[in-house]
Symmetry: C2
Subunit: 309 residues, 2 copies
Amino acid sequence: MSVGLLVVGSIALDSVATPFGVTADAPGGSAVFFSAAGTILHPVQIVGVIGSDYPLGALKALEARGVDLSGVERAAGESFRWKAKYSYDLSSRETLDTRLGVFAQFRPKLPEKFRDARYVFLGNIDPELQLGVLDQVKQPALVACDTMNYWIHSKRDLLLELLRHIDILMVNDAEARELSGDWNIYRAAHWVLEHGPRMTVIKQGEHGALLVNHDTTFKVPAYPLQEVFDPTGAGDAFAGGFMAYLASTDDVSLANLRRAMVYGAAMGSFAVEAFGVEGLAGVTLDDVRARVRAFKQLVHFDLDEGKPA
Amino acid sequence: MSVGLLVVGSIALDSVATPFGVTADAPGGSAVFFSAAGTILHPVQIVGVIGSDYPLGALKALEARGVDLSGVERAAGESFRWKAKYSYDLSSRETLDTRLGVFAQFRPKLPEKFRDARYVFLGNIDPELQLGVLDQVKQPALVACDTMNYWIHSKRDLLLELLRHIDILMVNDAEARELSGDWNIYRAAHWVLEHGPRMTVIKQGEHGALLVNHDTTFKVPAYPLQEVFDPTGAGDAFAGGFMAYLASTDDVSLANLRRAMVYGAAMGSFAVEAFGVEGLAGVTLDDVRARVRAFKQLVHFDLDEGKPA
């Protein structure tokens, strides 16, 4: 039996406009992007809620790829919806509408078999719910957690409590700055380490990601892409690749965490090459490995001890 | 006799305000930052102009470190002055004043011994002057060139002519976008390649730098610094480290160009750790090598062929 990998997060319907096209009520949400990427490397157990209007075909496609849906609750009402528009160069986006729907009353309940999960990712939801999920997991080997500015401001105390119970906080650079109150991203990462987690992962969008622990910093750049269609979900695909690589290898050594960062960055790069989760649907393990090797070439240089004279 | 390394550029008096302090009429300018970094690795020949008010002590200090000043012309009038203010997080700056002074009438004239230079860096000055310098160099092995938005708009035709005569265009990301008219930085780099240079180097400030040729892309991140005092001159220090490493090794293979990028990034990191050129004055070759090794650790990961299963 393979090591359990659990994700809790949103299962949403996204309506996104980029300069290259639009989607309307397309399957999305942190748990969906995480799963679509993660399942390429390792089976994923998903916990979330959908409304009575959610298209089941999208979830069935995930199930066919190795995602266990037994933790997806179906509730009466509308599914979570998110609507956003990106700037011409995709460097910023504006959220036009957020409708919680059935997500407002969501209280995650783990199926018994999910409670043995060894690798747990708490997607960006209310920290109270994230803590509630942790209570239901028996003995995880590694817990990573995302959050967002909304919770940093509205539920800071609960978030700080949560930090004491997780191994990795995984946020974007703006969130790290908000949480720590420090604009220097490396100081912000160390601020997090002083509040519980052993590691901070900072997602930097087109500039890649950082892994910071007390002793070292690891940087993976973003993959050089001449065509980017939709940045939505890149961070969750990164998380899915990162966590699924760790689960598939069941190795939390620092050397393996560095590799996991690169698998995460590879998944992020596939995610942005198409709209929604489509970019990930056709990606094979061989594709991922080829891109990981390309990352190696991207940053590789030999030392030249002795030169210059 | 060592291989000649020539820089032409501004020799300025900078008045800079950051959240951490201010300078007034401090030695600066592209040729000065380039030389202060480059001379740690290799002797530098500098071509530029100063006014009658320029403090000679600063230049004498460079001379004592291996910079040949015989191409520095002293003209009657005021030295070039630049005044700027950085934002609280150093992410942007506003130019408050630029006074060309003697720089307005500057026509670079190379001392005879400089005409044998093998490595030539054309700092950010009028492309007409950059072309004039190239005419005076006999047989360079590698020519790199910087420019800025002002020349991209006011002297585009001359700049395009210049591109046909250089090996590397080295600009920041905003300049690459302006020049190419493309916001995607990788497409912008390839646009440059279609207009003459064999390589494009794109400086990305706190996000490092890219080296792009027709076949490959190399990325060096910026060094993780918890304290940055003054970003002024980081790009020119990068150029100084890059070019001086190439000159010191006299090797323009792609493997060596990658190493040169890392030496450049190391110099950029020293430059920003203090105000003005001060950060570079006390840096030794051992310091640089140690930082280059730290860069290796920053990005290093091992491939895991065969995993995940």
